[in-house]
Amino acid sequence: MIVEAKSLHKRFHDVVAVESLDLAVERGSCYGLVGPNGAGKTTTMRMIYCLNRPTSGTLSVFGLDVLKEPRRIKARLGVVPQDNNLDPDLSTCRNLEVYARYFGINRADAGSRCHDLLDFMQLRDRADSPMPALSGGMKRRLVIARALVNNPELLILDEPTTGLDPQVRHLIWDRLLDLKEQGVTLMLTTHYMEEAQKLCDRVLVMDHARAVAEGSPTELIREHVSPYVLELRADRSLNAHITSRFGHMEFQSSGQNLYFYGGSPDEFDDLLAAYPQTERLLRPSSLEDVFLKLTGRELRL
């Protein structure tokens, strides 16, 4: 196991950020952490890259204890933090070179590595740009490039694609899959269930500092939700009418939306026939449905 946590706890003064967490990440796999805002994903990641110290429990990375060997662990991993922390005083290329120096990589190797990485993340034309001149997507790609300067065995990505346009997101997905193919282990957090479904071999759903489910995306869908979902959109009184008539079916409501769950598409036939005017969408269920079922539809404040 590349990362292994046993009954991991993290408390900040009186806030419990992570509680009784167990997880194991296999070499060469992509492991996803999902959960509502404040669930404890970033804290978990930061404990893995040794920026937060566990309050109790054990956490080992590459078989090394995070409390005892942070330097050896950090030498072998790459970090893409939730908030970009590029060095604004340095240009694109210098950012990579200076970062390579923190790893003790010599100047010549750093130069060629930076070149390759700028190509890999399609930033070649921006090599000499000052930081403030880069767009959000360019900065994000640069942070990913920077995380790769030391050829990490484990790449940690905290919301790598939040706030990016679809083109950049697809580029990043492609690159992450390339890296996985090369044998790099990936750990990522995301709020996009599509992303987790596409990239991750296993997904851990966290809520209120605890793990609430774990498994491959298909396992999670099979175990936690029915295979099909019918989404209906109607006003409040119609909603009440529908739920009083079809309350025997499995459903959830959220605002003006109703979600009915079923084992096959024809289970919804009566319902669809009864309300032909209503806006509707019948689709196979996804990780998003699992997420909403496990963590509820209310907002986290």
């Binding site: 942070p70 604004p88 210098r94």
Partner: protein, 258 residues
């Protein structure tokens, strides 16, 4: 994980290099403004007020204040760098967070910042030294040792600044630090007149502030006067520097790795 100065490896120099690299690209903005205050001091105290003072401790006034002006130049530059400069890198730019996600440790970041602050203090005070030399205040070869002392004085104050920077919750607390400590230290520490002028309790406070020892050591070098008090002064100058650096490095670890 080991703590404090003993855990610091040469990796700290990588962060020092980063700061030096940024500084060199902007050197014009950094060098000249830093010289404004020391030059003003030379004119106002050395030449302006100095023309009304015949001699102090047996030498022309400018010769007496020269070590004070050098000491102030060193500590002020180090203090600015390790308060606003370090705070900005730590809080506004999150640069330190990026650095400690690599094999470089938080203790090494602390050490690098202190050493960098001391380096800037050395650069500024050495330029002031050259300017003072043009006024003909130095007569002894022992003045060649002055940069060693200004570097140590700057290092000492850089460490104090890092202790403050790594502990405050918002930048406004620097106002208290400057008004309550840095500004008084500039005038209390035997810089412009001998501290024997103060009442006893104030003298004790002045001797606790390491700048007093540094200035007195420098004055011994410029005037080539060797006195027995140099021994305790040197012990305190070096001892307090090590203690403060240890506290600063630990404080930085505490701040950066929760």
């Amino acid at each position: 994980m080991s703590q404090g100065l003993l855990s610091v490896t040469s990796a700290f120099s990588r962060v020092w290099l980063r700061n030096a690299q940024v500084y060199l690209t902007l050197w014009k903005f950094n060098v000249f403004p830093a010289l404004a205050e020391p030059i003003l001091f030379i004119f106002v105290f050395g030449i302006g007020i100095g023309s009304y003072i015949d001699q102090m401790e047996g030498v022309p006034y400018l010769e007496f204040v020269a070590p004070g002006i050098l000491g102030i130049a060193a500590i002020m530059q180090a203090t600015f760098e390790c308060t606003y400069g370090s705070y900005f890198r730590m809080r506004m730019q999150n640069t330190f967070e990026g650095i400690i996600s690599t094999p470089v440790s938080a203790a090494e970041v602390g050490m690098a910042e202190i050493t960098w602050g001391a380096t800037r203090g050395l650069v500024t005070s050495t330029l002031v030294l050259v300017i003072l030399a043009f006024f003909g205040v130095f007569h002894n070869p022992s003045v060649l040792l002055l940069p060693v002392i200004t570097f140590l004085a700057a290092f000492n104050f850089a460490a104090i600044a890092i202790i403050v920077t790594s502990r405050i919750a918002q930048m406004e607390y620097f106002h208290f630090y400057f008004a309550g400590f840095v500004l008084p230290a500039q005038f209390l520490c035997g810089t412009f007149f001998p501290i024997s002028r103060f009442p006893e309790p104030v003298q004790v406070i002045a001797w606790i502030i390491p700048l007093t020892s540094f200035v007195d050591i420098m004055r011994s070098l410029t005037l080539a006067r060797i006195t027995p008090s140099l021994i305790p002064e040197t012990v305190w100058a070096l001892g307090s520097t090590i203690i403060l650096a240890e506290l600063a490095v630990r404080s930085m670890q505490h701040r950066l790795v929760e």
